[in-house]
Structure formats: structure tokens, C-alpha cells
Amino acid sequence: MRPVIYVLSFIAVLGLGFWAYREHYDTRQALRDVSRLNSEIAGLREALALQRAEWAYLNRPDRLRELASLNFERLGLMPLEPSQFGDAANLSYPAVDEFFGDINNSVMVNGQLNPEEEPL
């Protein structure tokens, strides 16, 4: 009985050693992946921050104002004016038809004519 236990435990030690060896290398690989991803994320974040800064720089009011005045002929952009505010009451709605009232959409009717009746 005892030799069997010895052999089994020896095999178990070998197996565990192999498993630990594999795990160790997997962990190291995972850590390498994480640090690569982290540096990639950091690079992307940096690029994002730079692009945000560039977006803010390209959209600075001074530049937009200059561009608007340079392209005035094509775009006709002017500063917002008080007169550009409208009131819903000032909108001209389509006139109501005298005959149909406010029914202005066509209506489809389905049905069957009674063949015995005289057609109108």
C-alpha cells in the first residue's frame, strides 16, 4: 500500500510542479499584456487630451469669428440678434379650407357594393 501512496504523491508533485510552472508563465504573460495595454491606454489618453486641446484651439472664438468673416459671402453668418427670436403665434399656419374644415388628409375607404342594388 505504501509504495502506491509514494508513487501517487510523486506523480502529484510532478503534476503540481508542471501546473505551477504553466501558471507562472501564464501570469507573467498576463502581466506583460496588462502593462502593454496600460501603456497603450496611457498613449491613447495622451492623444485624446492632445486632440481635445487641439479641438479647443481650433474652435477658439477668435478663429471662428475670423473664419466666419472670411467666408461671409458663402455662409452669410452674423452674430445672433435679438430680432432672430420668434414667437409661435407669429407663424403662419396653412389656412383652413372652407369646405373640408381641417380635414386635409385623404381618406381611404374599403367596402363591397351590393350587386343587387342599382349602382348610383
Partner: protein, 597 residues
């Protein structure tokens, strides 16, 4: 193991035959057996001790080796979890109220040198001088060869400059990463943002510290690592700020003013939507001007006129005298007061503008509408100096403004040392005591807010402020109505913006000479206004330093001709931006239809 019997029969029989005691043999054998057992136990114990000692040795040496390794190796960052954004940016961004970036960080590089690693210092010095105009080849050669081992060359490099330095190709030139503060909008809102510079510098990083403005006032918040991923939201609206700076700049140029300031403030929340001061500067490249000895502090572009500039603000103060008189129940808007000019008080003579006379009697409303010095002086005398001081103090005129700028606590209003009656009189029309335009804006916001104090702030607020009531709501409403009449039929007729019911008060104050007395032809013009008068939302305040309007036959220096049109243009531009729709005021009723038939 073969056991030897204790009483071996052969020896026993032999002993008996010889007449010896056989028990001796047994004892002898027992002794031998015990010795054997003792030896075995000892050797087993020795082995156990050895194993135990060996395991202790292993355990302690493992701990020792681990400690040695820990102390001998450089610390590595934990790599097993994902890092957050906070590790990248060491200083939080600043945005406007709509999230548009006002200040952010950019990664650049600093340049330093290890002269001892240099191959050819003279060539390096020559090439560096060709790239950077501020460096001199001789100077650099001397520094590279005088035996030091480390030199900082430049704090920040552009990518192009870095490439050029790479192309020199000398191993003695090295780069260190730097986070640089960037203000993408250039000079816009420069006085709010202030600026920043490097604090402690190392090869691998450098700390960025705020040097002025909100960058310095909120330095702790901006550098807090826990908050570095959340931007600091200001109350400023970038679009409004741009419009205000454009119009103020045009006004300063057209009116030949030395400078100007404008403030837009929300009367309910106290949020500053725009705070502009001209001349301005670029916070990306904060200048360090050397001013001549006799220059005023205001001549520096770094000077924030809206916050730091304490001026005598002139007639804009009159509304406080009338409001207090109404609050105390001394007068109502239609009460007649003595406005007979000139008024003699001791050896002082109080005159009106251009020696006019709005008296002998005028209503309180007319005192404001026509800006009568004598009328306000009489009201102030009725109020009395102590109560006047108390009221001005409750409006915040005796303390620095609480705004989040590092310059604010230093801008303390200039108050007269004593408060005799003549000071009561002059203070009532804005002379004798000096305060910053921001003080005035906050006080007008208090009137426009129905008499509840509002503290100006640069940080975005979520709701109205809970201030202290300093006057009754009827008094505040009546004061706004008086200010409205200043625009409809008084000194600020040019302030009218159709649809926005502007209400405001002009102020023209002579500039005090350093040597005492006042300049004849140098004025500070102020226009403080609120709009829309029926439900005040915003305070618009414009101050111009030494403006002069020259379209007429003689130069005009009153606020009605200078600050007022600028403020009107600002209101016209920003009101739609703030989403306020114009009110269509009912036209005056036709006389014919008003009559019943």
C-alpha cells in the same frame, strides 16, 4: 531487531551451577537494553533538532533574502490592475460652464545636458544656438566646459524643436517628459485664468503650479489627485466672454481709452458669466513687464481692472443713497427733495454737472434720472453717516470681494479714515471712497435680486444663493424702476436695447492725482445696468479708463457718451446668447383710441 532475552537460559543455568545470583545477569541485560533505547532516542531527537534547525534557518533566510531584495531593488508600479486617467494628468482641466476647455495639459519635453557625456561641446553649443534664438554659442560652450555635470537648457520644447535637437545627435543632450499647461483660447479670459509655471523640477517630471488668477486661488483643488480627472467648471460662458472682450476692445480703441473692464453677473446665483479687463495678455506666455517708476499699476497688462482696480465709481453710487432712504421710510420714489444747486456745506460747495440746477425741488426718481449730486447729498444727510456706513457694509463695500481669484483679497476698498458729514455727502455720489467694479456689480446684483445679497463667484452654481436681505423687495423693485427711467428719459438714453428693458446708472468720476486733487480731463466712466427690468436676470457693468468721445465739436467724457453705448452693444449681443428672448413692449396707446366714445 532481534531482542536479546533478559534471562538467557544458558547463562542462568551456568550461573546457578556456579552458585552466582542469576538476577545480576538480568539487571546487566536490562541496563544494556536501556542504554540501547537511550541511544536510539537521542539520535532520533538529534535528527529532529537538526530538521527543526534547518527549517528555521530556511524560514529566516527566506525572510532575510526577501527583505534584502525589497530593499535593494527599485520599486515597481503594481502592474496587475488597470490605471486610471488620474495617473496621466497631474493637474485638472478648467472648463467653462458648458464644458468648453479653458485650460488643459499637454505632454512636451524639457531639455537638459550632461556635459561630461558630450562628444563635441563646441559643436553642440553652436547648433543649439542656431535652433533657439535666446541661447548664445559662446555662453553655452563656457557652461559645457566648466566641469559641471548637469545643466537645464530649456523648460519646454515644441515637437519640431525636439526633432532638431535629436538631429544634433549628441549623447550629452537629454529630454525629460513635462506636462505643460495650455490655454487654447489665447488671451481670452486671461485675467480669470491667470497663468501657471513649473514648481519643483526633476528629470522625470515637474510640478505645475498656478501663479495668478483662479489657477493660483484654486491650486489645491486643481492639484488634488483624487479630483484630477474631473475638470473644474467655471461659471464663465466662453461665447459670452468672447463677445464681451470683442466689444469692449472695440470700445476701448474707438474711445481712445487706456483700458476698460466689463462684468456680466447672474443676479440670482452670483455667477460671473464674463469678466474682462483690457489691456490683456496671453496666459500661455505670461509676460513680466518692467514698468517705469511713475507708472500706475493699471498700466500693466497683468492688472485686473475689474477686480484689482479700486476706483471712485461716481454717480453709480447714488442709487444706494436713494434705496436706503426708501428702506428707512424717509422718502418714496415721488417724494420731493431739496435739489437746489449749488449747495453750501461748511467750506465745501456741492455743484451739479456743468453747474446745472435740477431744483429747487425734485422727486427722488428725478434725482436719480438726472443724476443730481445735491439731491443725493440731502438724502445722505437725512440718513446720517453711521447708517450709511452700515448699509454700504451690508452691500459688501467695506471688504474685499470673495471671488475665487488670488488677486481679490488684496483689492480692499479705499475708505476714508474718518466719516464726517462731508464724507457722507461725497460718498452718496461716489466720491471719497473707492471700490472695484466687481464690488459695484455685486451691489447692483443685490438690488436686482430683490434686495437679497449675492456674492460673486467664478464657480458654476447649481441654484440661487441664500443671501441676507438688506432691503425690502418693494424698495429694490422701485430702485430698478428708477434705474429703468434713467435709460428711458435720463442720462443713459443710449443704453436702450429694444426688447431688453435695460435699467442702469451712469457714473463719471474724475481721476485722483497721485499728488492730491483731481485731473480735469481724465475720468473713469462707469455704467452699471441690469436687464430685463421687469424681472432682472443679469448685471452688465462697463468701466472705461480715460475714454473720450470725439465725434462732436468738443470732446465728451461723460459715461453717457462712452461706457453706455459700449454696455448697450454688449447687452444687445449677449442677451440672445444667454437665451433671453426680447420682450415686445406694448406701444403707447394711441390718443384717439384711448378716448371712449
Amino acid at each position: 531487531m532481534t531482542r536479546t532475552p533478559l534471562r538467557p537460559l544458558a547463562r542462568i543455568l551456568k550461573a546457578r551451577a556456579q552458585g552466582e545470583n542469576p538476577d545480576v545477569i538480568e539487571r546487566e541485560n536490562l541496563r544494556l537494553r536501556h542504554e540501547q533505547m537511550r541511544d536510539a532516542a537521542r539520535s532520533r531527537a538529534e535528527v529532529r533538532l537538526l530538521i527543526l534547525g534547518f527549517s528555521f534557518f530556511l524560514a529566516f533566510s527566506a525572510i532575510g533574502v526577501r527583505m534584502g531584495v525589497l530593499s535593494a531593488t527599485e520599486a515597481a508600479e503594481p502592474r496587475s490592475f488597470a490605471s486610471g486617467a488620474e495617473i496621466l494628468a497631474q493637474r485638472a482641466d478648467i472648463t467653462d460652464r458648458n464644458g468648453r476647455v479653458l485650460a488643459t495639459n499637454m505632454l512636451t519635453h524639457a531639455l537638459y545636458a550632461h556635459p561630461k557625456d558630450m562628444v563635441d561641446p563646441a559643436r553642440v553649443a553652436k547648433e543649439l544656438a542656431a535652433i533657439f534664438p535666446e541661447m548664445k554659442a559662446d555662453d553655452l560652450t563656457r557652461r559645457f566646459t566648466d566641469g559641471r555635470s548637469f545643466i537645464w537648457l530649456r523648460k519646454v520644447l515644441s515637437p519640431e524643436q525636439m526633432q532638431q535637437v535629436h538631429e544634433i545627435g549628441d549623447p550629452g543632450l537629454l529630454f525629460g517628459p513635462r506636462e505643460m499647461r495650455l490655454y487654447p483660447n489665447g488671451t481670452l479670459a486671461a485675467h480669470i485664468l491667470g497663468g501657471s509655471s513649473f514648481g519643483v523640477e526633476g528629470v522625470h517630471s515637474a510640478e505645475v503650479i498656478g501663479t495668478a488668477g483662479i489657477e493660483r486661488a484654486m491650486d489645491a483643488r486643481l492639484r488634488d489627485p483624487a479630483l484630477s480627472a474631473t475638470p473644474l467648471e467655471l461659471s464663465v460662458d466662453l461665447t459670452v466672454q468672447a463677445a464681451v472682450e470683442e466689444i469692449l476692445g472695440a470700445g476701448v480703441t474707438m474711445l481712445n481709452a487706456k483700458g476698460g473692464a466689463a462684468i456680466i453677473m447672474d443676479v440670482k446665483t452670483g455667477e460671473i458669466l464674463s469678466l474682462a479687463s483690457l489691456p490683456s495678455f496671453d496666459p500661455n506666455n505670461r509676460p513680466n513687464p518692467v514698468l517705469p517708476k511713475d507708472a500706475e499699476p493699471g498700466d500693466s497688462p497683468l492688472f485686473n481692472r475689474a477686480v484689482q482696480g479700486v476706483y471712485e465709481l461716481g454717480s453709480t453710487f447714488k442709487i444706494f443713497a436713494t434705496a436706503q432712504a426708501m428702506e428707512l421710510g424717509l422718502v418714496g420714489p415721488d417724494t420731493l427733495v431739496d435739489a437746489n444747486a449749488p449747495m453750501q456745506w461748511g467750506k465745501h460747495r456741492i455743484r451739479e454737472f456743468q453747474n446745472k440746477n435740477y431744483g429747487p425741488l425734485a422727486t427722488v426718481t428725478d434725482v436719480i434720472v438726472k443724476s443730481s449730486n445735491v439731491g443725493t447729498a440731502r438724502l445722505a444727510l437725512q440718513i446720517g453717516g453711521l447708517r450709511q456706513q452700515e448699509f454700504l457694509k451690508s452691500l459688501g463695500f467695506f471688504d474685499p470681494t470673495p471671488i475665487e481669484l488670488t488677486e481679490a483679497p488684496g483689492a480692499k476698498p479705499l475708505l476714508p479714515a474718518r466719516w464726517p458729514d462731508i464724507v457722507t455727502i461725497t460718498t452718496s455720489y461716489g466720491h471719497g471712497m473707492s471700490a472695484s467694479p466687481l464690488h459695484l456689480a455685486a451691489a447692483y446684483a443685490t438690488i436686482a435680486n430683490g434686495g437679497i445679497t449675492v456674492k460673486p463667484t467664478l464657480l458654476k452654481q447649481s441654484g440661487p444663493q441664500a443671501g441676507v436681505r438688506v432691503m425690502r423687495e418693494e424698495v429694490a423693485d422701485a430702485s430698478v424702476e428708477m434705474l429703468r427711467q434713467v435709460v428711458t428719459r435720463g442720462t443713459a438714453s443710449l443704453a436702450e436695447v429694444p426688447g431688453y428693458e435695460v435699467a442702469g446708472k451712469t457714473g463719471t468720476a474724475d481721476k485722483p492725482r497721485r499728488t492730491g486733487g483731481y485731473y480735469k480731463d481724465k475720468v473713469i466712466n462707469t455704467f452699471a445696468s441690469v436687464f430685463p427690468a421687469s424681472d432682472p436676470r443679469y448685471v452688465v457693468l462697463v468701466t472705461l479708463d480715460e475714454p473720450v468721445e470725439t465725434s462732436g465739436t468738443e470732446p465728451r467724457r461723460t459715461a453717457g457718451w462712452t461706457a453706455v453705448p459700449v454696455a448697450a452693444e454688449i447687452t444687445r449681443r449677449i442677451a440672445p446668447l444667454l437665451g433671453i428672448r426680447p420682450v415686445v413692449e406694448a406701444p403707447p396707446a394711441d390718443r384717439l383710441t384711448a378716448v371712449r366714445n
